[in-house]
C-alpha cells in the first residue's frame, strides 16, 4: 500500500513522499524536518528531525544524500527516541547539522511504530553566498512592522505635502537608491504574523505562524523545537559580528526575538528574554550564540524577578534546561542551558554580563555621554510596549491631546522614553565603535502595525514618520561613518490595508446562500461622513504644519488626509484624531461615565458610535484589523551600489536573507 500525504501532522512538509510498509496499520503524521524544499546557506546550521504519531515503541532511520546518519537524540534502528516528543509521538533528532556543498540534497527516513512503518523523503537546497567582492561589515535592517506602501505614502504626504502633482519632499526611505517588492507568506499561510515575517529575513527559511527560528514539531517545550541558525548566529560564529536589537515594542515581541531566540511560542516572554542573554556569548568567544551587545526598547517586565511589581516572569512562559544534544550540537555552554526560573533577577544578570543599563531617555543620554561608549547597552524604557510616538511627543511638547488630562507615558509609568531615532543613534554609537568585525542591527518601528490593527490612522502615520527618522540615522551611518554597511528598509507584512484579506471558509455554493444584511444597514442611504470624503479633485493637496521636532503639530488640519482600512473590523468612523487617553483614569468616576456615555472612542468598534458612521469589517467582526497578504516594499542603500541593487525587483521574503548574507560574504 502506498499513499501520498501532504501537510503531514500539521507541518507544512508538502510533497513529501510517504510510503507505508505496514500490512494494515502504520504510524501517522510522519514527517521530516526541515520542511521539503527549504533553502539554506552553505554551512548554516539546522536541526533535522524525524517524527511520527502512533503506538510505541518507535524507531527510525535517516539518510542524507544516501549516507546513514546518527541521531544526536535517539538511536538509528532502535527504540531509543529523543525523550522530548509530545504524548503519542516519537521523535529522533539530528541537531546542528550543516552542509557545505551547494545544490539540492535529499533526505530519506523511515519511521516505525508497533503497527508498521512509513518511509518519507524530502529535499533541501544549499546556496552559496561567498564571493570575491568587498564584504559588508555591517548589516542594518530597519523594519516598519506592518508597513505597506500606503503607510509610506501617507507619512510622506503628511511630512512634506505635495503641490501640482509632485511631492514636496521625500522620506529618507524613499531616497534609498534601490527599491523592490517582497512577498510575505509564512510556512503555513498566505498571511503571516510577525514571527515568521522576521524569521524569513533573519534565517532564510519559513516558519509557522507564531514561531521563530524553529521548524514546527511535536515536542514538549516550544524551546525544544528544531532550530535553524539565524543570520546573527552565523555571522557571530564565522566573523565575530555583534548583534543589536532596537524596537518600540516590548522586546519579547516577535520581530526582535526572531533574530536571536528559537521558540515555537512567540509569547513565551520569560524564556525569550532569558535566551537573549544566555545565548549572547557574553564572553565573546565567537563559538556560539548571537553576540548580542545592544538591546533597546520596552519589556522591563521580563527582567524583573517574579516577586517584584511590574514583573511578568512565570514558569509557564519559561523553559527547562535545553536537551543535551542541543547544547552539544550548537556549541552552547552549560550556562546557556536555561532553567525554569521566574525568580531570576535577569536585569542584574545583564549588568553582571557587562551591560550598561538605562531605564529612561535621560539615562540613555548619560550612558552615552562618555567619550567612549559602553561596550554593551541595555535599555528597557517601559514595562511592556513603549508608547506611541504621538503620545511620547505630547509629553515632550507638554501639550495634552484633546480629551485627555494626563499624558499616556505617565500613565504607563514610563514618563521619559526615547524616540526610535534616538535609540538607533545610541545603538550605532555602541556597535560602531572600534568594531572591526562589524554588526547586525535590527531597528523596528513596532507601532505602525499595532496602531493599524487598532485602525488608528493618525498614530500609525506619525509612527511611520518616527521610523523614517531612524532610517535617516542609519543611512547617515552608512554614508559617513562606515561605508562597508548595507541598510535595508522593509516590513514583515502589511497590516490593515487594501489588499487580500483572507480566504473563503466553506464552499462557494454555501457562500451564495448566505443571507443579505441590507436590512441592518441601508445601502441606499449615504452617511454624512461618507459624503465628507473628498475624492479626486476635491482632495487637493493637504498641507500639515511640521514643528521643529520634525513631526506635525496636529493631524487634525482642515482638509486632512483620510485613510481607510480594507482588512478592517467593524468600526464607527469620524475621520478625526482619537485623543488618548480617551477616558482618563484621573477624572472623577462620574465624568468618566459621562464621557463613555457620550460616545468617547474606546475600542475600534465602540469608538464614536454616537457620531461616526458605521463601516462593516471586511476581514473580521467587532475586532481589530488584520494583516494582509500584500507584498511590501523594500528599499536598500549601500555605498557599494551592487549591494543595494540586489533588492530591485520582486522577491521572496527568504531571498532577503540570502542577499544580505551575500553582502556580508562578498557574493553579491
Amino acid at each position: 500500500m502506498s499513499l501520498q500525504r501532504n501537510s503531514i501532522g500539521g507541518l507544512s512538509a508538502s510533497m513529501i513522499l510517504a510510503v507505508s510498509s505496514g500490512a494494515h496499520a502504520a504510524p501517522t503524521s510522519v514527517s521530516i524536518t526541515p520542511p521539503h524544499g527549504v533553502r539554506l546557506l552553505s554551512g548554516q546550521r539546522f536541526d533535522v528531525r524525524v517524527e511520527g504519531k502512533g503506538t510505541g515503541p518507535f524507531s527510525a532511520t535517516l539518510e542524507i544524500d544516501g549516507q546513514p546518519q546518527s541521531f544526536s537524540s535517539g538511536v538509528q534502528n532502535s527504540t531509543m527516541t529523543d525523550g522530548i516528543s509530545s504524548a503519542g509521538f516519537g521523535g529522533f533528532n539530528l541537531r546542528g547539522y550543516s552542509q557545505l556543498q551547494p545544490g539540492v540534497h535529499s533526505i530519506r527516513a523511515s519511521f516505525a511504530d508497533a503497527t508498521g512503518s512509513v518511509d518519507v523523503s524530502s529535499t533541501f537546497e544549499i546556496l552559496r553566498a561567498r564571493g570575491s567582492r568587498e564584504p559588508m561589515r555591517n548589516i542594518i535592517i530597519l523594519l516598519g512592522d506592518g508597513m505597506g506602501t500606503a503607510h509610506r505614502t501617507a507619512a510622506r504626504l503628511v511630512r512634506f505635502g505635495a503641490t501640482l502633482g509632485d511631492p514636496n519632499g521625500f522620506l529618507e526611505m524613499d531616497r534609498l537608491p534601490a527599491t523592490g517588492m517582497v512577498t510575505t507568506h509564512s510556512l503555513n499561510s498566505i498571511i503571516t504574523d510577525s514571527a515568521p515575517g522576521m524569521a524569513g529575513y533573519s534565517s532564510g527559511t519559513h516558519a509557522q505562524n507564531g514561531q521563530e527560528g524553529v521548524f514546527p514539531a511535536n515536542v514538549t517545550s516550544p524551546f525544544f523545537f528544531p532550530r535553524v541558525e539565524y543570520m546573527s548566529e552565523y555571522l557571530h560564529r564565522t566573523q565575530g559580528k555583534s548583534l543589536g536589537l532596537v524596537s518600540t515594542a516590548d522586546l519579547e515581541d516577535a520581530t526582535p526575538a526572531a533574530n536571536a531566540v528559537h521558540t515555537g511560542n512567540r509569547g513565551a516572554g520569560t524564556g525569550i528574554f532569558d535566551q537573549f542573554l544566555d545565548e549572547s556569548d557574553s564572553e565573546g568567544t565567537g563559538e556560539f550564540g548571537t553576540g548580542l551587545r545592544v538591546l533597546l526598547g520596552g519589556g522591563r517586565r521580563w527582567a524583573l524577578p517574579s516577586d517584584q511589581f511590574g514583573s511578568s516572569r512565570a514558569a509557564a512562559s519559561d523553559y527547562a534546561s535545553l536537551p543535551e544534544d542541543v547544547l552539544d550540537a550548537w556549541g552552547l555552554p552549560d550556562s546557556a542551558a536555561g532553567a525554569a526560573d521566574p525568580e531570576r533577577d535577569l536585569l542584574s544578570d545583564f549588568i553582571d554580563s557587562g551591560f550598561t543599563y538605562a531605564d529612561s531617555g535621560a539615562a540613555l543620554d548619560a550612558a552615552l555621554a562618555a567619550r567612549r561608549p559602553p561596550h554593551k547597552l541595555l535599555g528597557l524604557f517601559a514595562y511592556g510596549n513603549m508608547n506611541v510616538s504621538l503620545d511620547k511627543l505630547a509629553k515632550r511638547r507638554n501639550v495634552l491631546l484633546p480629551g485627555s488630562s494626563t499624558f499616556a507615558v505617565d500613565d504607563y509609568h514610563a514618563p521619559d522614553q526615547p524616540m526610535l531615532d534616538e535609540m538607533t543613534r545610541a545603538a550605532l554609537k555602541v556597535l560602531g565603535h572600534r568594531n572591526e568585525n562589524g554588526f547586525v542591527l535590527l531597528v523596528e518601528g513596532a507601532h505602525i502595525d499595532k496602531q493599524s490593527h487598532a485602525m488608528d490612522a493618525e498614530r500609525a502615520v506619525v509612527d511611520t514618520i518616527e521610523f523614517d527618522r531612524a532610517v535617516g540615522v542609519a543611512k547617515n551611518f552608512a554614508e559617513t561613518v562606515d561605508r562597508e554597511t548595507v541598510v535595508i528598509v522593509l516590513a514583515d507584512h502589511e497590516c490593515s490595508g487594501f489588499s487580500i484579506i483572507g480566504a473563503l471558509t466553506g464552499t462557494v455554493a454555501a457562500a451564495a446562500t448566505l443571507p443579505p444584511d441590507g436590512a441592518v444597514v441601508d445601502p441606499a442611504t449615504q452617511p454624512a461622513r461618507q459624503k465628507a470624503v473628498g475624492t479626486y479633485d476635491a482632495a487637493g493637496f493637504p498641507q500639515y504644519e511640521i514643528l521643529g521636532d520634525g513631526y506635525p503639530r496636529t493631524m487634525d488640519i482642515d482638509g486632512k488626509i483620510l485613510f481607510g482600512f480594507g482588512a478592517n473590523g467593524d468600526r464607527y468612523e469620524t475621520w478625526l484624531t482619537r485623543p488618548r487617553p480617551i477616558v482618563d483614569s484621573l477624572l472623577p468616576t462620574v465624568i468618566r461615565n459621562e464621557l463613555s456615555a457620550a460616545g468617547y472612542p474606546g475600542q475600534p468598534f465602540n469608538r464614536s458610535q454616537a457620531d461616526g458612521f458605521f463601516i462593516r469589517g471586511q476581514a473580521i467582526g467587532q475586532d481589530q484589523a488584520v494583516h494582509t497578504a500584500s507584498d511590501i516594499p523594500v528599499s536598500a542603500y549601500s555605498a557599494h551600489a551592487a549591494v543595494a541593487r540586489q533588492f530591485v525587483g520582486v522577491q521572496r521574503n527568504t531571498d532577503v536573507f540570502v542577499k544580505l548574507m551575500r553582502a556580508a560574504l562578498g557574493g553579491y
Binding site: A315, H413, A454, R592, S596
Partner: protein, 183 residues
C-alpha cells in the same frame, strides 16, 4: 453607551451573553421576590462594605511602582473599582483585565504588553474556562482584591486580581448567602 455593574446580578449579563450559553444549560438563577420573605429565603449575612478604589491610588507618583498604603491596606478586602475591559486578541479564560482606559491589544506576543501596570485581572467563577464576551464602556466591579504577582496556567502574570462577588445581587436581602471566596 451604558455602564455595566459587575459583582452582583450584572455578572449574569456576562454569562448570558457568552457563546457557551448554547453549549450548556445556563446556571439556574432563582427569581428574586419583589418583597423579601424570611420564610422563603432567610436573610444572608451582610457583605462587608466595599471600599471605593481608584486606579490612580495604586502606585505612588513616579515610575517606581511603589504601592500606596491604601492599596496595601485593601489587599484581601472587598473593593469597588471602575474601569474598562481590555480587549485582547487572545483573552484569558474565565477572566478579563480591567484597565484605567480603553485598551486594545493586538497579537498574542505583544498582547499584555499594552496593558497599563494598574491592570486588574477580574476573575469570574461562572465564566471559568470560557472567554468573557467583550463589553464596551465603563465597568464597575466589586469583589475581593488580591495584591501580589501570580501567574495563570498560561504563564500570564497578574499583579492585581479581583474576585467578583457571587453572581447575585449582593445587596438584596433575599439572595442566598454570598460565596465571596469563589465568587
Amino acid at each position: 453607551m451604558q455602564r455595566w455593574v459587575l459583582g452582583g446580578a450584572a455578572l449574569l449579563v456576562l454569562a448570558s451573553a457568552a457563546a457557551f450559553a448554547v453549549q450548556r444549560a445556563p446556571e439556574p438563577t432563582p427569581p428574586l421576590p419583589a418583597t423579601p420573605s424570611a420564610a422563603v429565603s432567610p436573610a444572608p449575612p451582610a457583605l462587608p462594605e466595599a471600599e471605593r478604589l481608584e486606579f490612580r491610588e495604586f502606585f505612588e507618583p513616579g515610575a517606581g511602582l511603589l504601592l500606596t498604603p491604601k492599596l496595601r491596606a485593601l489587599s484581601g478586602k472587598r473593593v469597588r473599582l471602575v474601569g474598562f475591559m481590555a480587549q485582547l486578541e487572545l483573552p484569558p479564560r474565565g477572566a478579563f483585565y480591567l484597565v484605567p482606559r480603553p485598551v486594545h491589544c493586538d497579537e498574542s506576543g505583544g498582547g499584555t504588553a499594552d496593558l497599563p501596570l494598574e491592570s486588574v485581572l477580574v476573575l469570574s467563577t461562572s465564566s471559568a474556562g470560557q472567554a468573557v464576551p467583550f463589553l464596551a464602556g465603563a465597568l464597575e466591579v466589586t469583589g475581593l482584591l488580591e495584591v501580589g504577582n501570580q501567574p495563570d496556567s498560561e504563564g500570564r502574570v497578574s499583579a492585581f486580581r479581583l474576585r467578583l462577588d457571587a453572581e447575585r445581587p449582593s445587596p438584596q436581602p433575599a439572595a442566598t448567602p454570598p460565596d465571596v471566596s469563589s465568587g
